[in-house]
């Protein structure tokens, strides 16, 4: 540590000029990166793909060590923890019965109302092979990439709730930006009031809530779910619970714990393109004015959809409990206008 013992190179003249030039280059890179980050992202994805086998190999012993270190403190509270878990398990069993009953009831109501079923969500299971906890960003690396159908923007969830979303994909790896990251912003709903808000990460454990309505007071403990606004994320993904921020405002305690998640699901949410309902003959201005519809020219009749009259036919109401008509199951845009 005795720096005085080192012999110092003295001929360092002219170092300031390269420093100034390189600093200017670095600033230029920052500006270029702000405008167009593709080049760096590609380099990052390539490096991660290349290092993925090493990350997988290193993961097992480090996870084992991590668990061992983390469980040292648990040894002393294992009995109390066991009692607490038994009690929690009993309560959860009761809630499960309630949930099953309510699920059946919701299904019956949906059949009675001919509700369009929610879009099916497919997902890809991936393993966490890396975590990055830097001062300015919090990310995670998964061992699934473009080859497995992963795309930027997709939501990443574990068994407890949402963790983050994909922001960069390599061929066989992908980077996840965590909900706690400084750059994470997702639209959320606060239930049961259905209040709209933006949940923004600030690199702390609990992201902040920016309410869209200023005159709203939230109750601590209210559930936060993804709203699905913007079509990027599926609605209804469990995110966390509201807590009051001592500094003012509200924060969200996340249900998921990214530091302990090992296997996660990447949710593929394909929002159907919203299309206006098909026009019926009654919507034509001439018909609406009480005039007989003009005879269409031959060329137009060839193009006009023949199926239009069938979409306005009176729907046959099925008996409660019976299956909905095939058109309603498909959720075709024309059917939405009839409901």
């Amino acid at each position: 540590m005795a720096n005085g013992t080192w012999k110092i190179a003295r001929n360092r003249g002219g170092a300031q000029l390269p420093i100034a030039l390189l600093a200017a280059l670095a600033v230029a890179l920052i500006l270029i990166g702000k405008a167009e980050n593709t080049l760096f992202d590609r380099a990052r994805a390539t490096v991660t793909d290349w290092a993925a086998p090493a990350l997988r190999a290193m993961r097992s012993p480090l996870v084992g060590l991590d668990r061992w270190v983390g469980s040292l403190g648990d040894i002393f509270v294992v009995y109390q923890e066991n009692l607490r878990l038994k009690s929690e398990n009993a309560r959860l069993r009761q809630w499960r019965n309630v949930a099953v009953t309510l699920q059946d009831r919701v299904k019956r109501y949906q059949l009675l109302l001919h509700a369009v079923p929610d879009p099916g969500l497919s997902s890809v299971m991936a393993r966490v092979i890396g975590r990055s906890n830097q001062p300015f960003l919090q990310t995670m690396i998964l061992d699934a990439g473009k080859a497995q159908g992963i795309k930027p923007g997709q939501a990443v969830v574990d068994s407890r709730g949402m963790i983050g979303r994909i922001f960069l994909t390599g061929d066989h790896t992908s980077w996840v930006i965590l909900l706690t990251d400084l750059n994470s912003r997702i639209p959320v709903n606060i239930e049961p009031d259905n209040a709209q808000a933006i949940m923004a990460g600030d690199n702390t454990g609990a992201p902040t809530l920016d309410l869209l309505s200023q005159n709203l007071t939230l109750k601590p403990g209210a559930q936060v779910v993804s709203s699905g606004d913007g079509g990027l994320l599926p609605p209804g993904l469990a995110v966390g619970t509201v807590v009051a921020d001592p500094a003012g405002g509200y924060r969200v305690v996340l249900l998921a714990d990214p530091s302990s998640s090992e296997d996660v699901n990447v949710v593929d949410f394909k929002l159907k393109t919203e299309q206006p309902p098909a026009a019926s003959p009654n919507d034509l201005p001439a018909t609406a004015a009480g005039l007989p519809p003009a005879a269409p020219p031959p060329a137009v009749t060839a193009i006009a959809p023949v199926t239009m009259p069938t979409t306005v036919a009176a729907p046959s109401v099925p008996a409660p409990g019976s299956a909905p008509p095939p058109a309603a199951q498909g959720g075709a845009p024309a059917d939405t206008g009839n409901e």
Binding site: K7, L22, L25, A43, S132, L182
Partner: protein
């Protein structure tokens, strides 16, 4: 002739040792597997060889190498490009201007000198990130990283000293 060739090869290898230590520091610090559940951010390992050889062998730890190490840190850490490159250059500028004073420190003073240089890099990075995102990142995480970096420098400086004595050596003109 062969002896001259091996001496040249040895000199070349010894000249890239500081940069290799820097690259190793970048890779190890950004290896995305965290022990202890990521409770604390990893230390800026790359800054240790950077500071050490920028002080004792600035002819080997040149601004160009500092820039390359910064870019590597940017790419591997997942952050915006150029942030750490500019921050390391800011710290290098300080070290370059205050080299005689920093090199004359020993014991706690040497650690304090390193801490001031690391603080310069961290403050520069914090400022750039703030401007980049137009949002103040939490200061606590950066301070914890700075503390970890200073803490890890104490054992690391012994390793770097051994590497310097055995692999690099003092500047030739000083003999």
């Amino acid at each position: 002739m062969e002896r001259a060739g091996s001496i040249m090869g040895g000199r070349f290898l010894s000249s890239i040792v500081p940069a290799l230590f820097g690259i190793l520091g970048v890779i190890v610090a950004n290896f995305p597997v965290s022990i202890l559940g990521g409770l604390v951010p990893p230390p800026l390992l790359v800054f240790m060889p950077l500071y050490f050889w920028a002080m004792v062998r600035p002819d080997l730890m040149t601004p160009a190498w500092v820039f390359v190490l910064g870019i590597l840190q940017d790419v591997l850490s997942g952050g915006p490009p150029g942030v750490w490159a500019a921050s390391f250059l800011a710290a290098y500028f300080l070290i370059d201007r205050q080299r005689d004073m920093l090199a004359g420190l020993s014991g706690i003073g040497a650690i304090a000198g390193f801490a001031v240089s690391a603080l310069t890099a961290c403050v520069a990075a914090y400022g750039i990130v703030t401007l980049y995102y137009w949002h103040f990142p939490p200061l606590a995480t950066m301070l914890v990283q700075l503390a970890m970096t200073v803490l890890f420098y104490i054992p690391a400086v012994f390793v770097l000293g051994v590497a310097h004595r055995r692999l690099v050596g003092p500047y030739r003109s000083d003999f």
